[in-house]
């Protein structure tokens, strides 16, 4: 996609201003793209119904007060999701959170830029099936792992997955 700025300071190619960020003009229906600062979730106890399917990098993807924000595929941990980019449907400490996937846009996907970092030695890599420590996400019986899936310290266990 092209993103060009015209003489009036607005972007006029494939993106358009929406709220405080740019969104693609087509192909996304009502879904909002990644918001690097904001909050896609419903925090105030209302249904914002915006169908957000994207991610955000410093905010919180979740509906914290048990209301439907139209997001159906992000982890709801009552915490910031900085490290959680997997959208793996783990609900920690999640009271009365309603997922209504009917309002979600189809096939909203994203890819995070991978950095070359935390590289295993070849011997360790072969044992773990990946050279990249940050992609070493073993799955356990109940879903989440201590390293991956739903990351962090919000209730993952080695044996039981999500609490």
């Amino acid at each position: 996609m092209r993103m060009e700025q015209n003489s009036r300071g607005s972007y006029n190619a494939d993106f358009e201003q929406f709220s405080n960020f740019l969104r693609p003009k087509y192909g996304t229906r009502e879904a909002c793209p990644c918001n690097s600062n904001g909050n896609n979730g419903s925090v105030g106890g209302v249904n914002n119904g915006n169908g957000c399917g994207g991610c955000n990098h410093s905010g919180n993807n979740n509906s914290n007060n048990g209301h439907n924000n139209g997001c159906g595929n992000n982890c709801n941990n009552n915490r910031n999701d900085m490290g959680n980019v997997g959208g793996s449907n783990c609900n920690h400490h999640n009271n009365n959170n309603v997922h209504n996937t009917n309002t979600c846009p189809l096939a909203m996907v994203y890819a995070v830029k991978q950095e070359w970092q935390n590289i295993y030695d070849p011997e360790i890599a072969l044992l773990n099936g990946t050279v990249f420590e940050e992609l070493n996400m073993p799955f356990y019986k109940s879903g989440c792992s201590i390293n991956g899936g739903c990351r962090g310290n919000s209730g993952n266990t080695r044996n039981g997955g999500c609490r």
């Binding site: 991978q114 070359w116 590289i119 030695d121 070849p122 011997e123 890599a125 072969l126 990946t130 050279v131 990249f132």
Partner: protein
């Protein structure tokens, strides 16, 4: 672990070959997305060299291990097959 393969058992040498091959392949997948990554290229080149050294040593001591290594005989069929791994230890 370094590239010194002298005196290594057949099984251990094959294990080294597999681990270098895997590292090379995983780095290639990364390089598909980030072809200009100098760090990834350095990792790829280093492990590609170690893979080749392990391959050469294995073939020198235990014979060819794949059809692509064919030179002037069908020796690659003489080595152990995957289901015979237990017998070569």
């Amino acid at each position: 672990m370094n590239g010194n393969n002298n005196g290594m058992s057949r099984e251990r040498l094959m294990q080294k070959l597999q681990m270098y091959s895997f590292a090379v392949y995983d780095a290639l997948l990364y390089l598909d997305a980030y072809p200009d990554s100098a760090e990834a290229l350095e990792f790829y080149n280093r492990n590609k060299r170690l893979e080749q050294e392990a391959m050469n040593e294995y073939e020198r001591r235990f014979g060819k291990i794949s059809l692509s290594c064919q030179e002037d005989s069908w020796q690659w069929t003489d080595g152990p097959w995957p289901w015979q791994n237990e017998e070569v230890r």
